[in-house]
Symmetry: D2
Subunit: 354 residues, 4 copies
């Protein structure tokens, strides 16, 4: 069958035929409907993500970790036609957190990630997977399900913040977040999903980038009653919660002195490539104001499930707004092209399988 194939750590990508997996007792056969593309995919294709590697015994890796699939042959819980999304990371099998289904907190680093490291991904016509790694998506969500994987990581990060911020009273006097501001640095798909989720939690939301918004960004940010700010102009952001999706220390370190007391900073982005000075005054700011910073990666299956609920919610509340996050649909033959360059005005590009 056709698949999008890479050779990490070498650069390059091609669409070519790969052998089908032999049927396996207890595994579910899934036909791929959509794959989302993200920075990690492009990082692998460019040869820059040095941790990427083929599965044991293979000299190639099938790409793809953002997936919407359809069950071809059902088993116990899953029935033919059900929409499913596979979780990306699979636990190391030995550490305490992996044994709890919290492989996103794997202590050993010996996990695999489909389409990324040590396990084939889903940019292929069909694939087999164990039921325990498959998250069911209601049919009413339809193709929006392809957003679930990136969203799951957002959900995990926000769950982290909600839990840790109970270290003190971090709500308004009416118990909500209505008096609080969350600022999201970056307006890519992850930035916009954070914005949607934070709005749903009740925050006032600011989306920040170093440029004016694109048309689609404007539409989405206004549609959810958030605010876009161009940080290349003089702006005054004073957030209670800061989310960095950029990976640039130069983006978030200058905001630290403006954060509200007891605030939190989520570090999510990793693709920056720079160094930026942290001063003793910055440290004093963090200390004197009890500010918390939490790095967050990956997601548990429960975060995927919570992500389904967010998507249903947004579909009901914002009608067609969510579809606008998918700015381009391509055929698999076009994958090598869209995997080697960022498209103009792109939020999420997806590969459609017929």
């Amino acid at each position: 069958m056709k698949a999008v194939v890479v050779n990490p750590p070498n650069a390059g990508v091609e669409v070519r035929d790969v052998p089908s997996e032999p049927p396996s007792q207890g595994k579910v056969l899934i036909r791929t409907r959509l794959n989302g593309l993200c920075g990690t995919d492009r990082g692998i294709v460019s040869g820059k993500l040095t941790f990427s590697r083929p599965p044991l015994g293979y000299n190639y890796l099938i790409l793809g970790h953002e997936t919407l699939g359809e069950v071809v042959e059902g088993n116990g819980r899953l029935r033919k036609g059900d929409l499913v999304v596979p979780v990306v990371r699979r636990g190391c099998g030995s550490c305490l957190n992996c044994n709890l289904g919290r492989q996103d907190f794997c202590e050993t680093g010996n996990f695999t990630e489909i389409g990324i490291r040590g396990a084939h991904g889903t940019m292929r016509e069909e694939f087999l997977d164990e039921e325990r790694y498959l998250v069911k998506v209601p049919n009413s969500l339809g193709e929006l399900g392809v957003l679930l994987e990136p969203l799951s990581n957002v959900v995990k990060a926000l769950n982290e913040v909600e839990y840790v911020q109970r270290r003190m009273w971090w709500r308004c006097g009416d118990s909500t977040y209505s008096c609080m501001t969350a600022a999201v640095l970056g307006s890519g798909p992850i930035g916009l999903l954070f914005s949607l989720a934070l709005k749903t939690m009740g925050f006032n939301v600011i989306v920040a980038n170093r440029r004016p918004p694109s048309e689609v960004e404007s539409e989405i940010v206004e549609g959810i009653d958030a605010k876009f700010v161009n940080t290349s102009e003089k702006v005054d952001i004073r957030p209670d919660l800061l989310v960095d999706t950029s990976g640039h220390p130069s983006a978030f370190i200058p905001v630290l002195p403006k954060m509200k007391k007891n605030g939190a900073l989520i570090l999510f982005g990793t693709t920056g490539n720079e160094s930026y000075g942290m001063t003793a005054e910055d440290v004093t700011t963090l200390v004197e104001n009890n500010i918390l910073i939490v790095g967050s990666v990956n997601a548990s299956k429960s975060d995927f499930e919570a992500g389904v609920n967010f998507l249903l919610n947004w579909k009901a509340k914002y009608s067609n707004l969510l579809e606008k996050l998918i700015t381009k649909r391509v055929k698999v033959e076009e994958a090598p092209d869209v995997l080697t360059r960022k498209l103009p005005g792109e939020i999420k590009t997806v590969i459609e399988w017929k």
Copy 2:
């Protein structure tokens, strides 16, 4: 204007004219669209709920605490035409929890509750309220917003359980609740809202009553992929989470020995009228199995907001199923009739204001 008026602690109810409130700086004028009826309303009408009382300076009480209203004149955040639901309890103004907006945990008991104790309710053509007590409901939810108030109490109880059960690992090995069973005792509106919410959280859900399900109950329970059991027949329920909405010790005490280890019991119902023996063996069960019981009442504004998200979710996922919870719509003139008897097959009866 017309209002549904009671004279607690005396029995009785009538629809009659009451004076309009004078406009008040900073208050929002709201036209009532729907009122839900619940056991508390009927308890007040029957004269049995002895804590019910008129506002200071009044010799009558306007009934009504389940509300969907529409803003007549907007102010800052709220605009004409916005749908809103007022929170029921208003804090004592002095205790620590009330000052945090957690009047549901009021320490003094000196709170008021609209339509119940010390404050007029919303069974009237229109009412004034402070913005801070009003929860905005997306227009896409429409009349389902009338379910928000009862749902908010369910949300609060489930938040309690999710937080306290982090005392140990209380999830499946994949981090979800997919291997766990929640049993809900009672299939009234509260029981069904619990079932919907628990299903959304990922539990296997059993709805239990001492009789077979009504047609609507069957439809809803099956529609959400839960299971109805008739406990007047021999059944074997072994829940991880037990929710009592009946208020009958005879309903939940016999289930204690069957609960899974580390399980939790939510006590929500209060309308039972009986005594049931708790044995030393029951106590041993609770101790040896680390079982937790939590009584839960009322809700914070943040629980109302989370309730909005549940409703949007269910609307998207279950389409028209939710509307079936509203089994009867009556005019205000019929209010005294439906407030003095439980209707056959009733889940939620609502008063429609034109």
Copy 3:
């Protein structure tokens, strides 16, 4: 060597010779210094604790789970002469909580407990144990270490309460417990250890029993600035936290209506033998006041470690008061006698090994 031997589920106890265990790689050899006696031991001896059983392959059980031992031959962390206390419960090896070292929350019930079910206890001259089951006790604590095992269970229960009560603000306006009252039902060793720990946490403490205090009880209760109340007389207890160490529903159910709002009840005792009516009004009390009840059993190794800190603390603060908890020391030959009757004025009876 000499050991105290029982034949559960049959009644009876004898001191007799048992074979020594063969040395085992990686196990630590420990000489027993003291054994504490508790209700569980007497329950096994009386034949009433039907869950007690010998280890696989044995037709007898060596009694003893409250221990102070001394290392005979050291290994890595433990050195000759170190004082140690073995944890009682050993995990099932399969459930999630046991794998986390939280065998006190074992989900399967397939654990063993030394001296109680399925594993030999420590009422013998010496025993072998794995280092991971041994808690080191500072030499400065000396014989007080024999109190560690019962104390560990108290610590676990209080940790449970501290965690779960963060569901809302459950502290005074100065962030302490200084305005709050804890009432402990029962003045046996467990009741007194709870009282000491609660006092250390900052609560006002009431120790309640159905009789006047013994002389030693008075001395200890006064020495820690707590208050003893005789509940056979008319008393008015209004606790924020209630701890039942009696196992009698008739002891704690009547106190429920007097509990402060948002309060908590710890169920710890299991030895009652009765039934007591819980009324719908009791249920309403629990619901309307957000009261939480938590059954608590056993302890993790971390609770033993926290227990060491409590003991050190009390030794420094209360000087010789703690020694008074040990009301009698007997030789092993007297064990059958003191295991078959409760001694007058007894708090903790211990067996001294020479």
Copy 4:
């Protein structure tokens, strides 16, 4: 009476006579026994701590926030002769956290701090204070009570970490911290108090400085079974928990890549004066490993109470070791001298009042 007086924001310090406060209803009169000196005091004296200011209506500030006092005239709870320590920060009176007694999380910044900003300190013969700000210290602790104020801040920081790290499983497989390493950067009084507390919690503890240990540091670090490392030599620290007491980004940023997954970094120090580059790789480390950083300042009254328990514990466990933290005792006349220079080999210098 005699007092140590400063004129912030101007540099300088003198011992001079100040008027006594008039007796005030409900206030407790306390005779000062000991004052501890810390970097904040010296920062004020040097004129570098620009936030320091006299009380309203005064043109001078009495220094002193580390105190051990003795009650001269008792009231309700406090009796003549009781040892007390006043809390330093007094809430703003308006924000939610201050109203909870968590002025360490003040949201407005409008708090005062005795001896630091807006309120007179305790470097004077006697002072009046409200009982609610006074923490009672057991007489058995004696002069060690002067360590309570610095310790309270350590306790608060560790409480923060213990709470937030429950976001995942962050313990060893036996539920303790015995397999985990905490590294403390800095070996001043705060660094050593952190080390003592972390050891008590069960961590393996490394104390790090950029130089070899002094004799007293060696004695204490070895006495508590911790390890001192000189980071000016090549060392390999791989901590689960990192505590920075130095305030130097150049101290902790280079350790980030060596931290264990899911680890935490406490920022406590503020006195560094430099800038150090944080690279995108550092950010990636934080993200990919779920690392959490928390700034922590000040303490609540409950942290002072927990600090008392630590001190009692250490007194019982380590005998005279704790006294060694007090490396010098001076008369008040010598205060200006010791406030203007760091003494060689100093850990804690105290002023003794007769």
